[in-house]
């Protein structure tokens, strides 16, 4: 009985420590287990398995449902379940790519309006929409464009300048 409880408490303390000293325990091994401690062998999974095994065995034994051997089996099953759940939760969060960072190439093909007239041989300014936000860019064009003209982005030479041409309707 005491063994089971001790095992459970050890797992809980391990988890608490890993929460307080975030990443510290993984760092103890300092790269030795690099990559190993991800996925199935990550600390929350292991700690969850250990603690759940102990607490599960203690509950089974304490209720008098089975003997010590049976209790150990029940604890192991519960521990595996907890570990698997932890693993799945972590995976789910890791895979969740909520926000895709906009890239410069995304500007290609978008349309916008000229806010500062573009001369034939210089920079003007255009207001584009990128990933739902307005973005003002320096812009060049092969033909002079007046303010308010609607343009397509033809090319993106640098991160802050674009090459545009007027929209032909």
């Amino acid at each position: 009985m005491a063994w089971f409880l001790g095992l459970g408490i050890t797992g809980v303390v391990l988890l608490a420590l890993s929460l307080v000293f975030d990443g510290l325990l993984e760092g103890v091994f300092d790269g030795v287990l690099d990559g190993v401690l991800e996925g199935w062998l990550s600390l929350p999974v292991v700690a969850g398995f250990v603690a759940m095994t102990g607490f599960g065995g203690a509950i089974a034994l304490g209720t008098g449902w089975t003997g010590p051997a049976g209790a150990a089996g029940v604890g192991a099953v519960a521990g595996v379940g907890a570990g698997w759940l932890t693993y799945r939760f972590g995976r789910a969060l890791m895979r969740d790519r909520t926000a895709v960072t906009p890239r410069t190439d995304d500007l290609l093909g978008t349309s916008g309006k000229v806010v500062t007239a573009i001369p034939a041989d210089g920079y003007g300014e255009v207001l584009l929409r990128l990933a739902g936000q307005p973005l003002k860019c320096a812009a060049r064009s092969t033909v002079p464009l007046a303010r308010g003209a609607e343009v397509w982005v033809e090319a993106v030479p640098t991160g802050t300048s674009v090459l545009v041409r007027p929209v032909d309707r």
Binding site: F4, L5, G8, V12, L15, A16, S18, L19, D22, G23, E26, G27, D34, G35, L37, E38, S42, L43, P44, G48, A51, M52, G54, F55, G56, A58, I59, L61, G62, A82, L85, T86, F89, G90, L93, M94, D96, R97, A99, V100, T101, P102, R103, T104, T116, A117, I118, P119, G122, Y123, G124, E125, L130, Q133, K136, A138, T158, G159, T160, S161
Partner: protein, 500 residues
């Protein structure tokens, strides 16, 4: 406490801790920051164009405004602030396109670009020195501003926003884009020039504005002054009216007062007038009484006497009128008879006179005919005589003159012939008498010459000296003949008449 309860509590605590541990590794980026999560290996990929195999940098994750699961110890998370940075930029003594030196103060708003490329570039440069962005960019932009101003004139910097923005974009492209920085705005806040260039730019307009303002002010002042004067005029008119009214009222009140003051004396005067009127009546009555007494004592007898005298005078006048009328009628009758007589006498006289006039007229006619006939005969004789003279020449004329001369001398001595007795008292003696005759002749000839223009002496001299000249001689000759004739006519009457 039973071990079962402890185990159950332990399970609950375990579950909570598990959840906390997993969730605590999920990091969420704020809206103005970017996460750069490093530590993973990139994926191997193949360049589709060159076929080269390389490991991309997908292991270095850039998260903007989202969440990311950071594996403890394996991965590292860094935060890059994306918010704007306010950068004051000042340039002193920048030389503009036309050589005017200008001092400029501007402000730039710079931020790290929002795209993955820009964040990666900026993270490499500024992640550990984000406060250095301001200083670094300030220096770069100061240089850029100096370069921009050098390509533009002061007026364009002030006025041509588009051109300035274009220049700024060009500079920013060259200096900032590669570092992942975005120049959101760049504005000139203040521009001054060395010397008074900018002030001079505005002076014409300022002068014009001042002129217009002065004109407007003057016009307004004029209008105000006119309005004020008009108001004063109206006030004066109103005051005049008021004074007139006051004077009128005062006159009325004075009048009333005077009347009131005078009422006492007037009443007194009226009473005295009444008294006088009564006295006048008494006097009138006395006068009437006196008049009546005079009537009876004086006027009536006088009237009677006057009437008697009038009657007598009237009778006399009537008698005299009657007498005068009778005399007048007699006079008229006598005058009428006289007039009738005169009329009859006049008519007889008139008939006699007209008969007489007829006789005279007939006599005249006959005489005129006789004279006409004689004249004609004489004219003919003269003509003949003239012809004869013409033929005779000056000798004949001289002949005639010589014939006449004794008569002239005789006539001249005629006054002396009338002398009964003559005593000559002269030193010359009796020869004085013959000289007087000669003087008379000479004076007669002189008189003839001065009155007729015919110089008899010279004529005689000319005839004796010369055989006569042309027409002048003839004219003189005619004058002489006429003279001679007249002399002959008048000699019959015994006197010499000298005419033209």
């Amino acid at each position: 406490m039973s071990p079962v309860v402890i185990a159950v509590v332990g399970v609950v605590v375990l579950l909570v801790l598990l959840a906390l541990v997993v969730v605590s590794r999920y990091k969420v980026a704020g809206p103005s920051e970017a996460f750069i999560v490093t530590g993973r290996r990139g994926k191997r990929s193949t360049d589709p164009e060159t076929g080269r195999v390389f490991t991309d940098n997908s292991g270095q994750k850039v998260v903007v405004g989202g969440g990311v699961f950071v594996v403890p110890f394996v991965q590292q998370r860094f935060t890059l602030d994306l918010s704007s940075r306010h950068i004051p930029v000042a340039v002193r003594g920048a030389v503009t396109l036309r050589g005017v030196k200008a001092n400029l103060e501007g402000v730039a708003i710079v931020k790290v670009g929002g795209t993955e490329d820009a964040i990666r570039a900026a993270a490499q440069r500024f992640l550990m020195q984000q406060d250095g962005i301001v200083g670094f960019t300030q220096e770069v932009l100061s240089g850029a501003l100096r370069a921009i101003v050098g390509r533009m004139s002061v007026e364009d910097v002030i006025r041509d926003r588009a051109a300035f923005a274009g220049q700024v974009a060009e500079e920013a492209e060259a200096s900032l884009s590669g570092q992942g920085l975005v120049l959101d705005a760049f504005q000139i806040q203040d521009i001054t020039t060395e010397g008074s260039y900018l002030e001079d730019l505005g002076r014409p307009e300022a002068a014009r504005a001042k002129q217009e303002a002065d004109i407007a002010e003057a016009v307004a002042r004029r209008a105000a002054e006119q309005a004020r004067l008009k108001a004063e005029e109206e006030i004066a008119v109103a005051q005049r009216t008021l004074y007139l009214k006051q004077a009128e009222i005062k006159a009325e009140t004075d009048q009333a007062e005077a009347r009131a003051n005078a009422s006492g004396p007037l009443a007194e005067a009226a009473r005295q007038q009444d008294i006088l009127a009564e006295q006048e009546k008494v006097a009138e009555r006395q006068a009437a009484l006196k008049d009546r007494q005079l009537d009876t004592e004086v006027r009536k007898p006088a009237d009677a006497q006057r009437y008697a005298a009038e009657q007598e005078a009237e009778a006399r006048r009537v008698a005299r009128v009657k007498q005068a009328e009778a005399e007048r009628a007699a006079g008229i009758a006598a005058a009428q008879a006289e007039a009738e007589r005169a009329r009859l006498t006049g008519e007889g006289e008139k008939q006699r006179r007209s008969a007489l006039a007829d006789a005279v007229r007939l006599e005249g006619d006959a005489e005129a005919a006789a004279i006409g006939a004689r004249g004609a005969a004489e004219a003919e004789a003269m003509e003949k005589k003239a012809d004869a003279f013409d033929r005779y020449g000056d000798a004949a004329v001289l002949q005639m003159l010589v014939e006449v001369l004794p008569q002239v001398v005789a006539k001249a001595s005629e006054p002396l012939a009338a002398v009964d007795k003559m005593t000559v008292i002269s030193t010359d003696g009796a020869s004085r008498l013959t000289r007087t005759v000669a003087d008379n002749v000479a004076q007669g000839m002189e008189l003839l010459g001065s009155t007729t223009g015919v110089d008899l002496a010279s004529l005689l001299k000319g005839i004796t000296a010369k055989e006569g000249t042309a027409k002048e001689g003839i004219t003189a000759k005619e004058g002489i003949t006429a003279k001679g004739e007249a002399g002959r006519d008048t000699s019959e009457n015994g006197k010499v008449e000298i005419t033209d």
